[in-house]
């Protein structure tokens, strides 16, 4: 039991060190590129690669599954950073991105109502919902995307 906990702790530390560093660097690069392209309203190379390789989907999938254990907290904060960083294009109106966000929101809703799994991540969850709400406030046309397909998106 003790050994198992020790291994998990080690895995967790490794995860925090490597994945967090890489993800933060990714967000920094996206931010640097976005600042250049914000006035022109064009997509840069990194953002194009980000979208075409469905990176947002992958991060969302790992976040939803909470695998490796504890990734939910990191993943959700990265998603928040990406949503807040990219302003050169309407990010949330992209099909794969709002679909992922709806999935994560659905997971949060289920966890809060049924098993209270993510109670230690309240701040991150609030930030996540706030960032989406802010984007919806600035771009009202995307609001429908979060309501129209609720039945289809439901895991049940």
């Amino acid at each position: 039991m003790y050994l198992h906990t020790l291994i998990r702790l080690r895995v967790w530390l490794l995860l925090v060190l490597i994945s967090n560093k890489s993800l933060n660097r990714i967000v920094d690069l996206l931010h640097a590129e976005d600042v250049e392209h914000r006035n022109e309203r064009t997509i840069g190379d990194c953002l194009e690669y980000f979208m075409s390789n469905s990176m947002f989907e992958s991060i969302g999938a790992y976040t939803k599954a909470d695998r490796p254990h504890g990734f939910f907290k990191i993943g959700i904060s990265v998603l928040v950073s990406i949503i807040e960083t990219v302003h050169s294009t309407s990010l949330l109106s992209q099909a794969n991105i709002h679909k992922t966000l709806v999935m994560v929101l659905d997971t949060i809703l289920v966890s809060l109502t049924e098993n209270s799994k993510y109670l230690n991540c309240e701040q991150e969850i609030v930030d996540f919902i706030t960032s989406i709400s802010l984007r919806c406030y600035n771009e009202p046309h995307i609001t429908n995307l979060f309501f129209t397909n609720v039945k289809n998106m439901s895991t049940k």
């Binding site: 990714i26 690069l29 190379d45 990176m55 992958s58 909470d66 679909k99 999935m103």
Partner: protein, 116 residues
């Protein structure tokens, strides 16, 4: 007879056209297109040629020219950034993959299939 006269006329016409000495008198300049509306006289103004906006030229003759224009710096920066971006993503994905599967992941595949 009439046919012969016609042929001669044609030949003389051709000669007249061909000979540079007999130049036709210069044509009178066309009058300005103007029209009167009561006492006021309107004259059409000539249209000014539209000045084209200077456009960015990307057809560089050599690398030195591209460097001078500042385009090359931007291009190199974007290229380096993309390379770094790809590297970081690959690093993250390989690490997370190992960690996720070492953590007996079963929900991951389900989550991915749900999203896709």
């Amino acid at each position: 007879m009439n046919f012969v006269k016609g042929v001669i006329r044609d030949i003389s016409k051709r000669r007249r056209r061909a000979s540079p000495s007999e130049e036709s008198p210069p044509r009178a300049k066309p009058k300005k297109k103007s029209f009167n509306l009561g006492k006021i006289k309107f004259t059409r103004k000539k249209k000014r040629p539209v000045e084209e906006e200077p456009q960015m030229n990307f057809n560089f003759r050599n690398q030195a020219e591209a460097i001078d224009s500042g385009y090359d710096d931007k291009y190199q920066l974007a290229k380096r950034r993309l390379k770094e971006f790809k590297k970081q993503w690959n690093q993250f994905e390989s690490n997370i993959h190992v960690l996720a599967y070492s953590d007996q992941t079963q929900g991951l595949a389900a989550a991915r299939s749900d999203i896709k």
